[in-house]
């Protein structure tokens, strides 16, 4: 059995968790086993039910005092107890902020290695084989894990959804008998979360700006583009972030975030190696740059050699028109 940890926010399942569940189900089918889901916390009945539509054969909801506020320490303890009881062959997470915090903690509790931020999974000779980018995508590492259970986190926006079309199934609720005194740290507050604001790692379309944006005020133009296109976000190059034009949360590249949206728009970004490393796995790249010799054009599917300030307004209008259809 492959167990998948499902994340939710305000009762709704994260899409990236469903992607991980979908991939678990596809590999489980090949391995002639099943995929199950686990959620932690309260008020998760609807979220649990959603998992059946994406390939889960059974869903467990854990709750208890140690799960009331998030801590990797407490969540790893709770998951460990379920793992010891149900003995999955593999456990998958989505490589979100939470997944990247929790999966290694659980791996250490179980004394096993972890395959982080995988972008491809395969079954070879009856074993799972993992592929993940290293050096922010400048190289790809493919390997098998020697330890059991196998632990992996899957990068968001890579794995397609598996639509099982099943409406329900067995949901088991378990209370973890661990007190809140088991942990020495926990989340006390969520700050600055804008409604509907997507991180660049989750976005399907990214409007990214570099030095050619000329100043912080012009990032407003990218924000406006983002407001037109659903599931999009604003990105930035290192030089724009280091100039203080936009917060580092938006930085794409080797010292920022690695992204793989459907479309990556690079406005006024020349294409330094460390930036290209972070965005080369985008499905389609569009570059707008004054300098027709800019290295970004060597990786772009569509290039516009011109003034981004003249291109953005008509582009916004065309996108609006198209999306209104």
């Amino acid at each position: 059995m492959i167990l998948v940890y499902i994340e939710s926010r305000k009762g709704a399942v994260k899409k990236s968790s469903l992607e991980a569940l979908s991939e678990a189900r596809r590999r489980a089918d090949e391995l002639q086993t099943e995929a199950q889901a686990v959620l932690a916390g309260e008020g998760l009945d609807a979220a649990a039910a959603a998992c059946f539509g994406y390939g889960a054969s059974k869903v467990t909801i854990l709750d208890g005092p140690v799960l009331e506020a998030y801590s990797a320490q407490g969540y790893a303890l709770a998951l460990e107890s379920l793992v010891r009881e149900t003995k999955p062959e593999a456990i998958f997470f989505s490589a979100t902020s939470l997944g990247k915090d929790l999966a290694p903690r659980l791996a250490a509790r179980l004394s096993v290695s972890l395959a982080s931020e995988c972008i491809r999974l395969a079954v070879k000779e009856g074993r799972l084989e993992y592929t993940r980018p290293i050096f922010a995508g400048k190289a790809l590492l493919t390997f098998k894990l020697k330890s059991r259970p196998e632990l992996a986190s899957l990068r968001p926006n890579i794995f397609p959804l598996f639509v099982a079309g099943k409406a329900g199934g067995e949901v088991v609720k378990k209370t973890v008998p661990l007190g809140a005194d088991q942990v020495q740290g926990k989340v006390v507050e969520i700050l600055g979360e804008k409604a509907g604001a997507l991180d660049v790692t989750e976005a399907e379309v990214i409007f990214s700006g570099g030095r050619g944006m000329k100043g912080p005020e012009n990032f407003r133009l990218l924000q406006e583009l983002s407001e037109v296109v659903p599931r999009s976000a604003v990105g930035a190059s290192r030089s724009a972030v280091d100039s203080g034009w936009i917060d580092h949360q938006h930085q794409v590249g080797q010292t920022g975030k690695t992204v793989s949206p459907n479309v990556y728009f690079a406005f006024g970004i020349s294409g330094a190696i460390q930036h290209l490393a972070g965005m080369s796995s985008s499905k389609v790249i569009v570059a707008v740059n004054k300098d027709p010799e800019a290295p970004i054009f060597k990786v772009a599917d569509y290039g516009l050699a011109g003034d981004l300030f003249q291109v953005i307004p008509p582009l916004k209008e065309e996108l609006k028109k198209l999306l209104a259809e």
Binding site: S113, E117, A139, G192
Partner: protein, 260 residues
């Protein structure tokens, strides 16, 4: 306040990475190595805390002899002590192996620290595993991807980055903290610091000195391939006025790329 900072030597982010597919390793020849950028934020935070509260900052690096250069940079930035955990084996991209060695090194060192700092990830392996695994092995709370940190007595408050927002975390010391860009502005080495760091005899510990046995050091990954991703081909340039090219672009994204 006693603080340990774990650092790593990594190839410069501007490097082109070449791979030796037969040996499944990165070709190191011609690469310029630097202190992992996120570790600079970790060290800066440690130095600021020491300046505010007193104490000692010890920098620990796992890797080959060449890591001494990275440790000297940390000393030149202001660290009090440096230790090299010498490991000549090539990178195995296995955070669990690294975490076991680091935790063992901590356990053999007394007294332990009040804070254990890491960078949020090494640029290269990109695992983001070692801080959390080390915290678990040491039985300590962890806060990863930290952009703000406050410490009062034996209590800490940190803000960590999450998708589209931040989480405020309260914890007790000792604790593991991993640093994200934005936490601070790392200082440069001073000339005086550089000169002084040159003279320091940095202690070198072998893994056997930590009481680790070869079976403890087996990597958990069985690497089957190391490749470079297929190169992207340059696409087409769109000509015309901004209005014309914007219209053509949107048309292509819909009809040819079938994306929007």
């Amino acid at each position: 306040m006693n603080i340990f900072v774990f650092v790593k030597r990594v190839p410069d982010t501007e490097s082109k990475i070449k791979v030796d597919q037969a040996q499944k390793i990165i070709v190191e020849e011609g690469l310029n190595f630097i202190l992992n950028p996120y570790d600079e934020y970790a060290l800066e935070e440690a130095l600021k805390l020491r300046e505010a509260k007193g104490g000692k900052v010890t920098v620990i690096c796992l890797g080959p002899e060449e890591c001494l250069t990275v440790l000297r940079k940390c000393l030149a930035m202001g660290a009090d002590e440096a230790v090299l955990l010498k490991d000549a084996s090539p990178e195995r991209y296995d955070g669990w192996r690294t975490a076991r060695i680091l935790a063992k090194a901590v356990q053999t060192k007394t007294p332990g620290a009040d804070l254990y700092f890491f960078g949020k990830q090494s640029v290269g392996a990109d695992n983001s595993q070692v801080p959390a695994m080390t915290a678990e092995l040491l039985g300590l709370p962890q806060v990863n991807v930290v952009v703000k940190l406050q410490v009062e007595g034996n209590r800490g408050t940190a803000v960590r980055e999450i998708e589209g927002g931040e989480e405020k975390v309260e914890f007790s010391l000792p604790a593991v903290v991993s640093a994200q860009k934005g936490l601070n502005e790392p200082r440069y080495e001073t000339l005086k610091g550089i000169m002084a760091a040159k003279k320091v005899q940095i202690p070198v510990l072998l893994l056997e000195d930590l009481g680790l046995k070869p079976e403890d050091l087996d990597a958990g990954l069985e690497i089957t391939a190391l490749d470079t991703p297929p190169a992207r081909k340059a696409g087409r340039m769109l000509a015309g006025t901004p209005e014309e090219s914007a219209r053509e672009l949107v048309r292509l994204l819909r009809s040819e790329a079938k994306i929007i």
